[in-house]
């Protein structure tokens, strides 16, 4: 079965540079979530989109922005990168509101960002 696809899998950037992560949700899933997981930490929610509109916002820095496109894929843009942004970034997808089954969330393999 198709899963959540993330790219790139690994990324190395220098401080103050910009990075873009891409996420392709499971087909027919209309909700995308972004999580950030630092070493030894639990995943921290950043932002989510339902039907291309932002549905919830967590601890996403102002330097970061994201959007969901018409084909439901999403991109997370990170600017003015700092050393502390080094983490594993997960995208996840689910069927959104109205499905009546609870939104089971499926995660992608993650994108490792290293800021040097």
């Amino acid at each position: 079965a198709a899963g959540v696809i993330q790219s790139p899998r690994h990324l190395i950037k220098e401080k103050r540079e910009t990075a873009t992560l891409k996420c392709y949700p499971i087909p027919r899933h209309d909700t995308v979530y972004w999580y950030q997981q630092g070493p030894g930490q639990d995943p921290q929610f950043l932002i989510s989109f339902y039907e291309k509109m932002q549905s919830d916002k967590g601890s996403i820095p102002d330097r970061f922005s994201a959007q969901q496109f018409s084909d439901y894929h999403s991109e997370l843009n990170m600017s003015s990168l700092e050393l502390g942004d080094s983490a594993l970034y997960f995208c996840a997808s689910s069927l959104g509101l109205g499905q009546g089954l609870g939104n089971t969330i499926y995660f992608g393999e993650g994108s490792w960002l290293t800021v040097v």
Binding site: F45, S48, L88, E109, G110
Partner: protein, 110 residues
Amino acid sequence: QQPVQSPQAVILREGEDAVINCSSSKALYSVHWYRQKHGEAPVFLMILLKGGEQKGHDKISASFNEKKQQSSLYLTASQLSYSGTYFCGINSGGYQKVTFGTGTKLQVIP
């Protein structure tokens, strides 16, 4: 508000059982359980929606108490492959995000 998990860490010998608890200060719409191995994505185990619900597959099961404020994950006859960090995730309904708990690191040794 982040749910609290206990214990923080546990070491089991193969074949032993374990219980991981997840508590919230308020009633929840649903609780999710995930297992994550180091450097990998969290893998969905199960979701519970109803107070008093119990469900499971194979030797892993979970329960959701009547007040929907606590959930427990039961691992029986543990296998080496059960090693990893277990997270509960709580959800406030609709398309809202899942907020992960503090995590329980479980290690199964031969």
